[in-house]
Symmetry: C2
Subunit: 316 residues, 2 copies
């Protein structure tokens, strides 16, 4: 059973009568004239991070940013969150203070508030957050239509490259910074909400997150690899470190860029907003996912990070 | 720094502008004519449970029940929840299925729905839940007044006794069942909401949870030990296992009974509802916590389970 099947099984087993439950970046429940969005996400020591690689301040902000990104991916505005923190006894009271200093900084940066939670000792550190946001018109994964453009808000693969550099013992690089310091696309999400048919954030890899959108929308996609935003420096560093550029771009996770589908007509209007994005392909009626490079089909390495087929070495 | 100080520090560092944030069983945010309640709580392997002691089905229900209890303690009705599940690779797919079977059973039993969440591999299993509920008139911890009766909805210490029996190698006993199968006091919470001034659920021990209410309300309390509901069987088993009855009753956690403060005038009306509860003491203006037995003061052993002064042997 892979993750998509697992989620589908859960969705069937747990019907949700209050709105939209399992299966998108956040749940959607009507609240007066608006919709309340809630998303829940976590970071676990030695699964998602190593304590030797990131500071407590960075960790707190990364966990928060990943959750905020889920709300941004619904075209919503994050408001407040609940923190379940498992904290190892081997860490100090100063570490704990640094964690909350980072969290406070994140709150200021992204205009969200801590509303409650729970704290406990734990052998491995973990940070589980449930975040609440709102939207007047939530954008789901399932609204894409054949003929829609597929676009991303920025470069992908850079966080994954940073992670690989960390694993190879490197400590400073703009890519490592990208890996440690997640920037959720809050403003872009809000603007895009007025134009797009479907949206998702790229947390587990471009192709895996795209395939989730395809599955939800009942569409397929054709991606033109050369249109994906990849900098010359990125290509150079990949070569230097003997890493597969395509694998990082197509399957590397944690970029937290937004991936969206927009009709050609609306895309013309979207251009006027001046927000940065790049069209990388098109939605198709045929339910398959194809990637071409300069018109020639390329082999898809792996979709991305799947918690059901996890390769620990890839991620820790 | 103990837990009360930690929470007070957090509350100061993280002001909440949407309603009531940190510091009660759940946060409270107005939503139309009602209030939305959200609470967040977790269970961690080898901190809160051992996998050898409880089944996956029991675990799922216990985690859910503990969260539902927080909503009940606010006088609210639980509606839906978000699950962050860390699941060890050493467990099987069958274990995972059993967990969700138990969760489903809990959903039916307590009329709540799964709305979303996150899943990841994890070395130690953990279950972090954020639960959403609603109420027309939330009952806080801070409403108690000097002269109020202090009452509990049922026996305390039984779950803690069950845990001690488990630790001593026992496997079957009504007390072990109480430890494994948490019953949140949903209906009582809803009824009590119409009468009481302050309420909290007893998750970490009678005196510790009472002291949280006292702190929030700015009151003190006098408890008459002999009025606390304790069965003859309980006393007998404590003696058999050489356990301190008073310690279990006053400081044992996880009973999930409701503890409340009610004015003598309202208590007369409460009697007519026929719900079961027992008056165990009285709120005082003097801000201290005293326990008497047949009129004579007794020494308070420890308040209860504090995650900041945790003795692992006590809990695992």
């Amino acid at each position: 059973m892979d993750e998509l099947e697992f989620v589908a099984a859960l969705k069937k087993k747990f019907p949700f009568s209050h709105g939209l439950g399992i299966g998108d970046d956040a749940s959607v429940v009507r609240s007066g004239k608006r919709f309340q969005l809630v998303s829940s996400d976590m970071l676990i020591e030695d699964v998602h991070f190593r304590l030797s690689d990131v500071s407590q301040q960075q960790l707190a902000q990364k966990a928060l940013a990943a959750n905020i990104s889920d709300i941004a991916a619904m075209g919503g505005r994050a408001q407040y969150f609940y923190l379940n923190l498992g904290f190892p006894g081997r860490l100090s009271a100063a570490d704990l203070r640094l964690f909350f200093t980072g969290l406070k900084r994140g709150c200021r940066k992204w205009n969200v508030e801590l509303a409650g939670g729970d704290y406990s000792r734990s052998e491995k550190m973990f940070i589980a957050i449930a975040i609440v946001g709102q939207s007047q018109k939530p954008i789901l994964r399932r609204g894409a239509r054949p003929g829609d453009w597929i676009a991303v808000t920025g470069p992908v693969g850079e966080s994954a490259l940073g992670l690989q550099m960390l694993l190879q013992g490197e400590t400073t690089s703009p890519f490592i910074r990208k890996h440690k310091q997640v920037i959720p696309q809050c403003q872009k999400g809000l603007v895009l909400a007025g134009f797009v048919n479907a949206m998702i954030d790229i947390s587990d890899g471009l192709l895996l997150d795209l395939s989730r959108m395809l599955k939800a929308s009942g569409t397929g996609a054709e991606i033109d690899y050369e249109k994906i935003p990849v900098s010359p420096t990125f290509k150079k560093v990949c070569r230097q470190y003997h890493l597969s550029e395509k694998d990082l771009v197509l399957a590397g996770g944690e970029d937290y860029q937004l991936l969206f589908a927009v009709s050609p007509r609306k895309e013309i209007l979207l251009q006027k907003t001046k927000i940065a994005y790049r069209i990388i392909g098109r939605m198709t009626a045929q339910q398959s996912l194809r990637v071409r490079e300069n018109g020639r089909p390329i082999r898809i390495p792996r979709l991305g990070f799947d918690h059901f087929h996890e390769n620990k070495a890839e991620r820790t």
